[in-house]
């Protein structure tokens, strides 16, 4: 285990051997308290203020999707199907020794979180989905983020791309070599996750959602341009026990664009976690 200092909290990193040793999954861990599993969106894991705030009450475990970890891009070739992905994530949870974690997923990670909870109904204690993909209606098409020109991506992801938090997330290193590496890493991450969302981000999840056996909070940005807010009703129609919060002045990434409201909604839904001794 290696430990790196961040402004706050301390984020440590674990590498887990799963899938009979064929995959090494890197997991960022921070905070203290009951376990919270965070599944990142299509462009890869970025530690944001939302996770930092969650880490104040939970131990946040954030695994990196196969192929999205720096230095290990070809891991994606070891994963063939979405059912295998779900099993791999269950192995990650088991290997980490997590009992009934809260599972939070954003966008692509939201789809994974729902798949995991539908396949293993007793695995999570609760589910939080932030603008998840995974359902499809022809009259509300999900934007194709993989073929969106790079200069149009900010407007696809944020209601107000000039927002300070949005700018911080979009910022690129000044050094040309680092910038090229960062670009390549992000592009490859989108390609790796795209393996399970292309050409239509619908792998039949709708038929499986009824199996989810825990309370679900669906959070959506009202101005989400990538996947319209109308999908809230689609999710709620299939989920046995769900609550929805729609956040105003907010695009596809509520935990970045409206961090405070997102944290408030999630905290209210999850209730006060038990106090943990420091």
């Amino acid at each position: 285990m290696t430990t790196t200092e961040s402004t706050q909290p301390v984020i440590s990193e674990e590498s887990l051997a799963v899938w009979n040793g064929r995959l090494t999954i890197r997991v960022k861990v921070a905070g203290a308290g009951p376990p919270l599993l965070y599944l990142h969106p299509a462009a890869g894991l970025a530690w944001d203020p939302f996770l930092t705030q969650m880490a104040e009450h939970y131990t946040v475990y954030a695994p990196e999707f196969p192929g999205t970890s720096v230095g290990n891009p070809y891991a994606i070739h070891a994963v063939d199907s979405l059912p295998d992905v779900v099993l791999i994530y269950e192995e990650v949870v088991r290997t980490l020794g997590l009992t009934a974690p809260v599972v939070v997923g954003q966008s692509f990670g939201g789809m994974l979180a729902a798949e995991l909870a539908a396949t293993f109904p007793t695995l999570p204690s609760a589910l939080v989905l932030l603008d998840p993909i995974g359902l499809w209606r022809e009259d509300m098409p999900v934007a194709n983020w993989l073929t969106t020109p790079p200069d149009q991506l900010p407007a696809l992801l944020f209601h107000n791309p000039a927002n300070e938090a949005a700018q911080a997330m979009l910022a690129m290193p000044d050094d040309p070599d680092e910038a090229a590496a960062a670009t390549a890493g992000m592009v490859w991450s989108m390609g790796a996750t795209g393996k399970f969302a292309w050409p239509i981000p619908d792998r039949g999840l709708r038929r499986r959602l009824h199996r989810i056996a825990v309370p679900v909070l669906v959070v959506w940005g009202r101005e989400d341009s990538l996947i319209p807010v109308g999908y809230v009703d689609e999710w709620q129609a299939e989920l046995p026990d769900s609550r929805a919060v729609v956040i105003d002045d907010c695009g596809h990434i509520p935990q970045v664009e409206q961090t405070g409201e997102t944290v408030a909604a999630v905290t209210e839904f999850l209730g006060q976690p038990r106090k943990v001794a420091p």
């Binding site: 070739h77 063939d80 790079p150 040309p176 390549a184 490859w188 991450s189 989108m190 390609g191 795209g194």
Partner: protein, 433 residues
């Protein structure tokens, strides 16, 4: 040197301001076409290829592009089949060269093996089997393949096809992307395994595969050979040296757009507008985000391109490129027979190219001018270029035997996927890189 006539089937009557409003692939409104316009574009294209076959070209070559206004060619085997029968009927010893079926795109690889086998039989053993990896928009958008799967699919599909042609007994195929309980195609190619050619844009892994597996390598110089040629071919031959492969020019194919008239002045006058049409409304109007979709280019390739996009040559400026810019970048070579002989000859000599694919139709070029371009090239340019490498001592191992080649079978080796994972499925092409 072997010289093929290469053609695409562009829609030739697009509006003047097309490139300001439309993309040339996937989303292009079909309402821009007329019935007569589509018919003549396709009919003339076939007539022109046959004219080339009769004029003495060593081969006739076509490519595959679905949902495309610059090449209305969803399956090159349809054209190859027609050409195979026509040329066989007329007794023309010309290679039938689909460049061909994209294996990163194909969801029915056994069908590809069967189609090529059939074309080879109809042509009496004159097929050259081209297999491009696949353009991103064509594989991913037109056929729904996840971009990161394009290369792994290519590898598996090619493996199946080569086995289907060469194994005597029926076999089951348990692939990741396709499964068949019994593979036993009828007919098989008359040639056994026809010469195999791979089309690439410069990825070193693709080049390496060609060396390891005894495939020919085609570089289609759409981006401007004067900008990209040295980079690509230096890379190719350096990798050849490392692989311990001889610098045999016959293992390389090179495509060049060429426009030839009686004089330089006349060539510019007659061809300039059609060349501008071809590249502005064709390649220039394929947006980058459809030519390079995340996952389709290896992560190291993306990193290299992010720092230095020179492998893309003139592409990023092509939507508004002038005739002069196209010429200066080497996207086109336009002039008198002497000019063309000199420029094409110099290039092929310098970079060790033993197969020239002369693209002699482009954009809106009318039938009559295309026919004349083909005729002039065949009579005034090809004869001297064909002499190149004749006394070099090299043998052409990637050309049909019936047409004078000494083809040798593919060998074992790596595939086209960087970091591919060897699975327990039928991949004998596991990458050892």
């Amino acid at each position: 040197m072997k010289i093929t006539l290469f053609e695409q089937a562009p829609y030739r009557y697009l509006p003047d301001d097309f490139e300001q409003h439309h993309e040339s692939v996937c989303s292009t409104p079909y309402s821009l076409t007329t019935r007569d316009g589509v018919y003549s574009s396709v009919r003339d294209f076939l007539d022109e290829l046959m004219h080339g076959a009769r004029a003495g070209f060593d081969g006739v070559a076509v490519t595959e592009h679905g949902q495309s206004s610059y090449d209305m060619m969803p399956n090159p085997d349809l054209v190859a089949s027609a050409l195979a029968y026509m040329t066989e009927t007329e007794g023309l010893d010309v290679a039938i060269y689909p460049m061909g079926r994209s294996l990163g795109k194909a969801r029915e690889p056994l069908r590809v093996a069967e189609e090529y086998a059939f074309v080879d039989v109809v042509s009496g053993g004159r097929l050259v089997a081209g297999f491009p990896i696949g353009l991103h928009y064509d594989a991913a958008i037109n056929n729904g393949i996840p971009p990161v799967e394009i290369r792994p699919r290519f590898d598996e599909n090619l493996e199946l096809i080569l086995r289907a042609w060469s194994e005597e007994k029926p076999f089951p195929f348990n692939g990741r992307f396709s499964q068949y309980p019994q593979v036993n195609p009828w007919p098989r190619p008359l040639q056994g395994t026809p010469p195999v050619w791979i089309t690439g844009l410069g990825n070193p892994r693709t080049m390496q595969m060609c060396f390891e597996r005894n495939f020919g390598f085609n570089y289609l110089s759409w981006f401007g050979a004067k900008l990209t040629g040295q980079r690509i071919f230096d890379r190719f031959w350096e990798l050849a040296d490392k692989a311990g492969v001889e610098r045999n020019p016959y293992r390389v194919g090179f495509l060049q757009t060429i426009a030839v008239a009686e004089t330089d002045e006349r060539a510019e006058k007659e061809y300039a507008e059609h060349l501008e049409y071809g590249f502005r409304k064709g390649l220039g109007s394929i947006p980058l985000e459809k030519l390079a979709i995340p996952g389709g280019i290896d992560i190291r390739g993306v990193q290299a391109l992010a720092k230095d996009p020179s492998d893309f040559g003139l592409y990023l400026q092509m939507r508004g490129a002038s005739f002069r810019e196209l010429v200066d970048a080497g996207v086109v070579i336009c002039g008198s027979p002497a000019t063309v002989r000199e420029q094409v000859g110099d290039f092929c000599r310098r970079y060790g190219i033993g197969n020239l694919h002369a693209m002699l139709n482009f954009g809106s070029l009318p039938r009559e001018l295309t026919m004349r371009n083909i005729q002039l090239f065949a009579e005034e340019v090809a004869p001297s270029l064909r002499e190149l490498w004749r006394d070099s001592g090299y043998t052409h191992y990637w050309w049909p035997e019936r047409l004078g080649g000494k083809p040798t079978a593919p060998t074992e080796g790596g595939g086209a996927t960087e970091g591919a994972v060897d699975t327990d499925t039928a991949t004998r092409t596991a990458v050892h890189a």
